[in-house]
């Protein structure tokens, strides 16, 4: 048991460190985030530039500091929207079944099949550009996967003894769902959230490929990573540091979920 909490501790430390780093990055960075210096392009990491510079001579360290914020924001909001709506929809449909279940699950199928790029294009053309619209579009895209997971769990628990007992004891359906069933889906949900977080970071990056993500010159880790692809041979640090940063963020987050899971055991 103690061993499990080490996950939580490590995860919390990592996430806290990243958060502090990120929060500082919103107010102060060693160099202005978007300042270019053509005489210092593609510099390897050194004392002046801890993570080197990119092709436009911008300080990668400063951009990573600042870009983490955007990445955090997008990923957390996306997962929150997906998980919140996904849980409610999955729980209700799984519990009640019937025609309601059928309809909602078909809508789910539609969402799962509808190309995310097309959906993002629609959001942008209807609501206009901006990070909030991208988050909304991504969040909606994340609903089905959460809904499906919760639904399958609920279907499973529904037929179990303790739920049947609760029903016999006259508990209301809502109470059964939210008091007895949902807490039991926590394990799957935390795992799904960690995965979702990863996917959200990447989705934001691939959206920017089509000009739909965070607009340049503002940095986000995903976009820095995709920009860095073309410089992987002569400026690998440009890909490496944002990449590592994403790994750390996601790792910290999944360790926390792991630790929480263990605490609940």
């Amino acid at each position: 048991m103690k061993k499990k909490n080490r996950y939580l501790t490590v995860g919390l430390i990592m996430t806290a460190a990243v958060l502090v780093f990120t929060i500082i990055g919103q107010f102060w960075t060693p160099y202005p985030v978007n300042a270019m210096d053509s005489s210092a392009s593609n510099m390897a990491p050194c004392a002046a530039h801890l993570m080197g510079t990119d092709d436009l001579g911008r300080d990668v360290f400063s951009r990573v500091m600042n870009g983490c914020g955007m990445t955090f924001f997008v990923a957390v909001c996306t997962v929150a929207i997906g998980a919140a709506f996904g849980t409610i929809i999955g729980a209700l449909t799984g519990f009640y079944g019937g025609i309601f279940d059928e309809i909602v699950m078909r809508i789910n199928d539609v969402l799962l099949s509808f190309p995310s790029v097309l959906l993002a294009l629609i959001f942008v053309s209807v609501l206009g550009k901006g990070k909030y619209n991208i988050i909304l579009a991504l969040g909606i895209l994340f609903i089905p996967s959460f809904a499906r997971i919760v639904r399958s769990e609920v279907v499973r628990y529904k037929s179990l003894e303790f739920v049947k007992n609760a029903q016999v004891m006259g508990c209301s359906s809502m109470r059964i769902i939210f008091r007895y069933i949902i807490p039991n889906t926590k394990v799957s949900m935390l795992t799904a959230a960690a995965i979702g977080f990863n996917n959200a970071v990447l989705a934001e990056a691939s959206m920017s490929y089509l000009g739909l993500g965070i607009q340049p010159p503002d940095p986000s880790l995903g976009r820095m990573l995709s920009e860095a692809q073309s410089h992987i041979f002569n400026a690998p640090w440009y890909a490496l540091f944002p990449g590592i940063m994403i790994v750390i963020i996601i790792l910290g987050f999944s360790l926390i979920s792991e630790g929480l899971r263990a605490m609940n055991d």
Binding site: N34, A35, M36, S38, S41, N42, D55, L56, L121, S125, K129, S208, Y209, L210, G211, L212, Q215, P216, P217, E227, Q229, S230, H231, I232, F233, N234, A235
Partner: protein, 475 residues
């Protein structure tokens, strides 16, 4: 790596897909540059931006510039071995004109007659000394009419043997090519690669032999297996301004922008300064029409820019949104650099990156933008087509530039048949574009091409053309 006896196909990496091989339908620069090898017109472009006889042996133009008479090349054949006849020429020009519609360059033809099998007489409805440039239109075989789009047959140095959508197309040397003096490689595979990064990876792994549009960073890590050819992209690359957007209606503001942008830094950033700085809508490599006097008009001078802004009543700057198509990384990066330049003189520049089709319909067609970074290539060697972009009532006056002086010079240029007068008129028009600061013209960007050392040659053209018939095996 290179094997001295390796005569396998040259694999050319194209970072764009070719979606149609019908030469009369061709639309983008990449498609034109590849089909250049398969099809020829009565005349074809030369490396200095002029034209020379191709399917035609020679031609004469009547003094009034309305009648063009072509004698077809003796013994010239299509890739299936059939001789090219005057009827095929007539058919091809009519087919192309039909596809392009009534505003195309070929619509100026009033009559095509074929007195005999090897003579074609083209009559124009009005005199036009630039018309010859439009006759690079591909000559196709009439007997193949039903299959032009699937299995096109041309007269060029290579025949198209395979076309796999989204993947590659294969060109094979045509042994019956009329120009027997040319010695060139047997086979070329043009491979469509999703993007420049991936293409560069494939170049490094050896599955691509030749790749264009390399960055200066890439050429430094490309390795010993490749020779680097330095040229330019043949674009007018710039920050194009919507002259109808309120602050940009003011000439002084546009001039301020011209002083604020650091062209040399952009050139340096992309191509180590190998690009050619321009200050007008012109192509320095086509010396016949280019007005060199426009160069150096605007130097990089932020103070002067601030002064001009203050004079124009924008001492506190204004908001400027720069729209940029997100699939062109070079344009996005340029926009980022320009945004920094403009912020330095107090203009609040933001970037709006959009997908290519949104750019085409919203920015280009609907002119719903403030400023945009783009590069204009040339689809025709005829300067009239380039300068129509700034004619006030033109469909493609994307910048909403309007100058009565410019319009009247353009009209005069169309009426004159004397090339010297014409050059002078086009020169004056270019000067107006510079003086009125129609947009912020930046450069003809430098371009690096990597070619595996198994091959030598590869001529570069001022038009979109990849002349594989100029490539030989190194051993």
């Amino acid at each position: 790596m290179s094997d001295s006896s390796d005569h396998s196909a040259l694999v050319f990496g194209l970072t764009q897909e070719i979606s149609s091989v019908d030469p009369h339908e061709d639309t983008d620069a990449a498609t034109r540059s590849v089909l250049f090898n398969v099809f020829e017109g009565l005349v074809k472009p030369t490396t200095d931006g002029e034209v020379e006889p191709a399917v035609a042996q020679d031609y004469t133009v009547s003094d009034d510039m309305t009648e063009y008479t072509f004698t077809l090349r003796d013994g010239i054949t299509f890739h299936d071995g059939n001789p090219v006849t005057a009827e095929d020429v007539k058919y091809s020009l009519e087919r192309s004109a039909g596809i392009d519609g009534d505003q195309s360059a070929l619509s100026a033809i009033s009559d095509i007659s074929t007195p005999d099998d090897s003579t074609v007489v083209i009559t124009l409805s009005a005199p036009d000394s630039e018309f010859i440039y439009n006759l690079t239109t591909a000559i196709l075989e009439e007997a193949n009419d039903a299959q032009q789009a699937d299995n096109p047959i041309g007269t060029g140095p290579f025949k198209l043997t395979e076309f796999e959508e989204g993947q590659y197309l294969t060109l094979e040397k045509y042994d019956g090519y009329w120009n027997k003096d040319l010695d060139y490689i047997d086979e070329v595979q043009v491979k469509f690669v999703a993007d420049a990064d991936e293409a560069f990876m494939e170049l490094q792994s050896g599955s691509i032999d030749c790749l264009q549009y390399l960055t200066k960073d890439q050429i430094s890590s490309v390795g010993d297996d490749y020779n680097i050819i330095t040229t330019t992209m043949m674009l007018v690359h710039g920050l194009f301004l919507n002259n109808d957007y309120e602050p940009l209606q003011n000439k002084e503001v546009r001039q301020a922008l011209n002083y604020a942008v650091d062209r040399d830094a952009i050139n340096e950033m992309f191509a180590d300064g190998k690009g050619m700085i321009v200050q007008t809508h012109g192509y320095p490599r086509i010396t016949a029409w280019y007005n060199k006097d426009t160069e150096g008009t605007y130097t990089y001078d932020p103070d002067k820019a601030k002064e001009l802004l203050a004079d124009a009543g924008y001492a506190d700057g204004f908001d400027l949104e720069i729209t940029v198509p997100s699939n062109f990384t070079q344009h996005v990066t340029t926009a980022e650099m320009i945004a920094e330049n403009l912020k330095a003189v107090g203009i609040n520049a933001t970037i709006n990156s959009v997908d290519w089709n949104t750019w085409l319909s919203e920015t280009y067609q609907n002119r719903n933008y403030q400023a945009t970074v783009i590069g204009f290539d040339i689809s025709s060697l005829s300067p009239a087509t380039w300068y129509k972009r700034y004619y006030s009532t033109s469909d493609n006056d994307m910048t909403n530039f309007a100058s009565t002086e410019y319009d009247s010079l353009y009209d005069q240029a169309q009426q004159t048949t004397d090339n010297d007068t014409k050059k002078d008129l086009y020169g004056q028009m270019q000067q107006i574009l510079t003086d009125d600061a129609a947009s912020v013209f930046i450069q003809d960007p430098g371009d690096f091409i990597a070619l595996n050392k198994r091959f030598t040659g590869l001529k570069t053209y001022p038009v979109s053309a990849l002349d594989f018939s100029s490539v030989q095996y190194a051993n």
